[in-house]
């Protein structure tokens, strides 16, 4: 399979730009990139769910156009979605034949075929089990079988390991090797570099919507991959002099958050952020960062532990009170949590601060005040827009983010949650956002910085912590640590205080309860 020059535009953004990808028969080809780099869009194009604006797709040397997933399936391309698409109350057999009853009917012939596929690739699927009785890994195998049943020769797996525990991951990789040995091709999407290196034959890195290079696992290190993913030519986010004071602004003590069923999503999280300090939180996505942010902003209630803001226990406070008392929030998903996409910019300026000046006077909204202040933000934060009456959706991602940063900074927060503040933002806007964070830090702002961009983390933070499986497992001095060392802690391979050179304990001395 070969993709050439694929470009896909959505209003306001270019999701994919000039993508080149060659997948050879009988290989596992990994596609890695940060979230938002454009992997999912590319996969949707491959699977016929979206049509590219430019570029061509060729299967077995023959140029094809997909109008729908059905076309893709007819060409032997199958997709295993990250979120399973199975009917719980049907059996495995029923789920597999559902929608493709024409292939082998729904009876004995279908069962034979399923058993045959299952044996051939070592999937170990029981056709009569009810899907609701199956675990996650089993369901995933049913999904894979479903795709194979429909005659797929190329399988796309979207973040297949996100839902699996390590042993299950190993089992999945064994399955993938079986598939490969039978001459099938697998496209494996992930941002977990360790896994990618262990299972893939070839790796294509995608960054900011375009393919930046291809690597062979044997000749590459996680560090090199990470560099390709993040892009080493980015401006470095260095902070010049330390502005850390000894006045604690936010203290989190033994915070614990449980998922349904009592599994800990966050466990024993303790840290303190002082005025003028940026605490960087490194970690592979899905290790509890989102939950931590949501607990801090009040969208989730902690199961135990306390959160203290400037001496006040805010653990039980609702979101609005937290925001009013000076917690700024740059959300990781600005479309879902930061903006009203179909509202004008000035209404978006009100969002999150509806009770505060200049947006409101008592019970009433102050439209003039809000609009005036929106114009100021547009000016000062260089939001590129023809006016403040256009909808947020019509701005590019970077300009949306600048508006959010401007909004949050306008209320003089004491504590700022900055989740991926420069994700999906062009290089110029990135530098501007860093500047704003640095400036606020000089004035005594405490910042929790969460980012997938390790250079950003190291460059901007005064203190670094690593989160793994919902626990803070390591800490480091950003002046002395390398992305590689951070990376190994992020995968759980290292813990405690990460030392680069001889011991310098001063940075993470007293509040070092994280291990």
């Amino acid at each position: 399979m070969e993709l050439t020059g694929i470009t896909k535009r959505f209003p306001g953004v270019v999701a994919n730009h000039d993508i080149h990808l060659v997948v050879r028969k009988g290989t596992v080809h990994a596609l890695v990139g940060e979230n938002g780099a454009g992997k999912s869009t590319l996969m949707k194009i491959l699977y016929g769910m979206q049509k590219p604006d430019e570029g061509t797709i060729a299967v077995d040397g023959e140029q094809v156009t997909f109008h729908s997933p059905a076309d893709a399936i007819a060409r032997g391309i199958g997709m295993v979605h990250q979120h399973f698409m199975l009917a719980d109350n049907l059996t495995v057999l029923e789920n597999v034949v559902l929608g493709s009853e024409k292939l082998h009917g729904i009876g004995a012939a279908a069962r034979r075929r399923i058993e045959e596929i299952s044996d051939r690739y070592g999937l170990g699927v029981r056709p009569d089990a009810l899907v609701e009785s199956l675990g996650v890994a089993d369901r995933q195998r049913v999904e894979i079988l479903k795709v194979l049943y429909r005659g797929a020769r190329t399988l796309i797996l979207d973040e297949p390991t996100a839902v699996l525990v390590p042993q299950e991951v190993d089992a999945l990789f064994d399955n993938l090797r079986e598939l490969k040995a039978e001459g099938l091709s697998v496209i494996f999407i992930s941002h977990k570099l360790g896994e990618v290196l262990s299972v893939a034959d070839e790796i294509t890195v995608i960054r900011r919507g375009t393919t930046v290079g291809t690597a062979v696992p044997a000749e590459t290190t996680p560090r090199q991959l990470a560099e390709m993913m993040v892009g080493s030519e980015l401006p470095t986010p260095e902070t010049a002099e330390s502005t850390v004071t000894d006045r604690p602004v936010l203290t989190v003590d033994k915070l614990r958050l449980e998922a349904e069923g009592g599994r800990a999503v966050l466990d024993d999280i303790s840290f303190t952020i002082h005025a003028g300090e940026v605490l960087g939180l490194a970690g592979v996505e899905g290790n509890g960062q989102t939950e931590l942010i949501e607990t801090l902003i009040g969208l989730r209630a902690a199961d135990s532990g306390t959160i203290t803001l400037e001496g006040q226990d805010i653990t039980a406070w609702p979101t609005r009170r937290r925001r009013e008392s000076g917690i700024g929030y740059i959300p990781e998903d600005r479309h879902r949590h930061g903006l009203l996409l179909e509202s004008p910019l000035w209404e978006n300026r009100i969002l999150g601060h509806v009770t505060e000046r200049p947006n409101a006077k008592g019970f009433w909204l102050d439209l003039k005040g809000a609009q005036e202040d929106t114009r100021r933000i547009v000016r000062e934060y260089d939001v590129r827009t023809p006016g403040i009456d256009v909808t947020a959706a019509s701005l590019s991602g970077g300009n949306q983010q600048k508006l959010i940063v401007g909004r949050e900074m306008s209320h003089k927060p004491k504590f700022l949650i900055a989740a991926h503040p420069t994700r999906g933002v062009d290089v110029g806007a990135q530098a501007a956002i860093w500047d704003h964070i640095r400036e606020a830090r000089r004035e005594g702002l405490a910042v929790l910085l969460i980012s997938a961009d390790l250079d950003e983390l190291i460059g901007l933070s005064d203190t670094l912590r690593v989160i793994y499986n919902g626990r803070l497992v390591a800490d480091a001095d950003p002046a002395a640590v390398t992305p590689e060392e951070l990376g190994s802690a992020m995968t759980g391979a290292a813990s405690g205080h990460l030392e680069h050179t001889e011991n310098t304990e001063e940075e993470a001395g007293p509040e070092d309860e994280a291990r």
Binding site: P11, G12, I297, G298, L299, P318, T319, R320, R321, R322, R323, E324, Y329, P331, R336, H337, G338, L339, L340, L341, E342, S343, E347, I350, L351, G352, H353, V354, T355, A360, F363, W364, L365, L367, R384, T385, P386, G387, D389, V390, T391, A393, S394, L395
Partner: protein, 378 residues
């Protein structure tokens, strides 16, 4: 900036206009298919609208539709679908009638009290669905539909003779209300009829609706919840409280929607009290795009279809079925849903393109002027 405002007006009007034109065309297709003139029924109905007694009927009917539609629109603005307006207003009208029949205070107390009874009853009935939603996660759609059915039975029970009912001929009523609770209307003479006094309440509620939604913090929270639940939550809106409040307000307004007729004309709740206002209200709220002015036009339009269509039955030389108006109302709902979504997406894309173009033009202009400066410097 002006350009974008004009754009917004264009977009706001395009949806309803396209929907109405489509509905009229489709109705004509139905007429042609049944071998009738595809144009004459419209003319006949237009003729009706010229009579001032029909006009009064239309205005009176529209005032009730307007309140019902506002109640629905409040829910719509935060993605709550209060299908239960129908049960809420009927139960509220009945309770108001009962209280009005058994209580005799001076008018200046009686009338506000009766309005309050109507609002509280409506709010209570809608509140049940609200509580179920926030505590047990029951979809308000299901709960309010059920509550409609329960309201029907409850009203049937409460109007039994040995509860609060009074039998008048074949009709079960709640007895005639005390005159201190009658609201005088504007009498336009015996030939023309009387405009309900509570028509003005409808207008006032429309104004209040606009002010609350667009000028208050509460209204902003409500709209934000409707546009993006997640963004609203992150901005500090307590979703559960918001759902409950919105349901209560929606129910309270619903509770008012039967009162123009009850307090202005019939003065008793009986088997012949109109039903289905709530469902028509959904159509009207949709057609009016949840906008108070839009809803007013939509309410007048639907009231016009209602009140002008009976004449079709008596048309000479050829009579038409008055159900043509019903067909048209149904088609309007279809056309509205489709055309609004289409117009919305089209508008969004159009604006994105326009913003892109303007920014590009601005950038180009800047480059040019810089170049000119460079030239000048040389």
């Amino acid at each position: 900036m002006k350009k974008f405002d004009r754009e917004r007006v264009l977009l706001a009007v395009a949806g309803p206009v396209i929907a109405l034109v489509a509905a009229i065309l489709l109705t004509s297709v139905v007429l042609i298919a049944s071998g009738k003139s595809p144009i004459e029924p419209y003319l006949l109905m237009m003729e009706q609208a010229a009579f001032s007694d029909v006009q009064v009927l239309i205005v009176n009917q529209a005032s009730m539709y307007y309140l019902a539609a506002l109640a629905v629109a409040i829910g719509f603005r935060m993605n709550l679908f209060n299908i239960g307006v129908d049960g809420q207003y009927r139960l509220a009208a009945m309770m108001t009638a009962v209280v009005g029949a058994h209580l005799a205070l001076p008018s200046f107390l009686q009338i506000p009290l009766l309005l309050l009874v109507g609002m509280l009853t409506g709010a209570f009935w809608a509140g049940i669905a609200g509580v179920l939603k926030v505590t047990r996660g029951v979809s308000e759609v299901v709960a309010t539909i059920m509550l409609n059915a329960i309201a029907t039975s409850l009203i049937g029970y409460l109007t039994l003779k040995d509860v609060w009912g009074v039998q008048v001929g074949n009709n079960m009523t709640t007895g005639v209300m005390n005159e201190s609770g009658w609201i005088p209307g504007i009498d336009l003479g015996p030939e023309v009829g009387e405009i309900y006094g509570l028509v003005f309440l409808s207008v006032a509620m429309g104004v209040a609706y606009w002010i609350v939604l667009n000028r208050t913090r509460f209204g902003f929270d409500l709209r934000a919840s409707g546009e993006s639940e997640t963004a609203a939550a992150a901005s500090g809106v307590d979703a559960r409280r918001m759902v409950l409040t919105a349901m209560l307000i929606s129910g309270a307004v619903a509770g008012l929607s039967g009162l123009p007729l009850l307090l202005g004309d019939v003065h008793t709740y009986s088997l012949s009290f109109p039903t289905g206002l709530g469902f028509t209200g959904i159509t009207i709220a949709l057609l009016g795009r949840n906008n108070p002015v839009g809803i007013a036009f939509a309410a007048l339009l639907i009231a016009f279809l209602d009140k002008a269509s009976p004449a079709l039955d008596y048309a000479t030389p050829v009579a038409y079925e008055k159900e043509i108006a019903t067909i048209m109302q149904g088609l309007i709902v279809f056309a509205v849903v489709i055309s609004y979504e289409a117009v919305r997406q089209w508008g969004l894309r159009r604006q994105q393109k326009r913003v892109g173009l303007e920014l590009a033009a601005a950038a180009a202009a800047q480059n040019n002027s810089e170049k000119k400066k460079e030239v000048a410097a040389r």
